[in-house]
Symmetry: C3
Subunit: 143 residues, 3 copies
């Protein structure tokens, strides 16, 4: 029983609403909030998306044009239609997801995510709008 | 001596045969089997490919057309021949590998890999067919 | 006080000079040196770049043509100019960074990085030359 409660505590689930078909939503503050709540001072956090048409990427959060440019260029490289075999109208979303990746790992020091000045963590939805899940798993270190 | 035995226990090596030059082979069940055997209830597993023409990606496993589409589109973006300098006939395989990445990290909860409904873990061979190695490293958590 | 000293010890910062706008610099030996110094026998190391125009990739280090081919092909896919909205002249660098990713995780066994024969860890600068930081975070395992 206690063990099961621990399990629940251990992995954190975020629900992130997205607003259009292709949408980058910054989740840095939400991740930081959970790291603070967990009370872990030193370690790493794995940020994992359990979807196949939605990934994670870290890039500039100061100028939203950067996310726009990533989206524009990914769409040139992997167009909405390109003779795909997958027949659900979202084959491009799957390909883009593999290019971005399903997870990122960020270091925790002094209870803070160690992000560069310009870095933000983005949920990269390629088949929205909908509610997406992000799983967080924190590992303490003790060197 | 014991320490060496521990080391061997610690990192797990899978051998995965691939069947053609570009081949996505799902390894989710093999990874789950090793996680179960290790008896780790909560943590993460790093899935690492020690090759330079073969990567790892997570994407849909229900419809094999998705892997076909990823392969088709990657081959349009990084053709077999494109004036490459590397002279071993597999320069494209190296480039594709860097686009997919050499590892993935998956969360373990209740002795199970936490994968989304549609997610499978794929070895993405870009220079097969041959036998490929995949290294698994499990880290327990104890928040 | 001791705790703060531990924190500092915990995350390691490398400073890597790059030599041109797009430059892949192998950092495998520098990472190995820090793993040896930390005295961690079994675990993982997360190699994290806190920049948004510079990533990390693992690929062949024996023939430098491989890095050249990755750079050439990435530049075809994401040209220096392509009608980007981000106005700082490095929009392409941001897009390339998301394609490569901001971190890699490598396994440690017997105090050594577990790299394949041909694998090297590369800092992939897309907006140099300058001095770049790489953060290393080592997590011990104890299965």
């Amino acid at each position: 029983m206690l063990d099961e409660m621990n399990e629940e505590y251990n992995m954190i689930t975020l629900s992130i609403p997205t607003r259009k078909r292709i949408d980058f939503v910054e989740i840095s503050d939400l991740v930081q909030k959970e790291v603070s709540r967990a009370g872990v001072s030193e370690g790493i956090v794995t940020i994992y998306v359990p979807h196949t048409t939605c990934g994670i990427t870290i890039n500039e959060h100061a100028d939203p044009s950067v996310a726009d440019d990533i989206i524009m260029q990914l769409t040139k490289l992997v167009p909405y239609q390109a003779g795909y075999r997958h027949m659900e109208g979202n084959a491009d979303s799957h390909v883009k997801t593999s290019l971005m990746g399903s997870s990122e790992t960020v270091i925790i020091e002094g209870r803070k995510l160690v992000l560069g000045t310009w870095q933000g963590i983005f949920l990269a939805d390629f088949d929205g709008p909908r509610s997406r899940k992000v799983f967080l798993k924190i590992l303490r270190s003790e060197v």
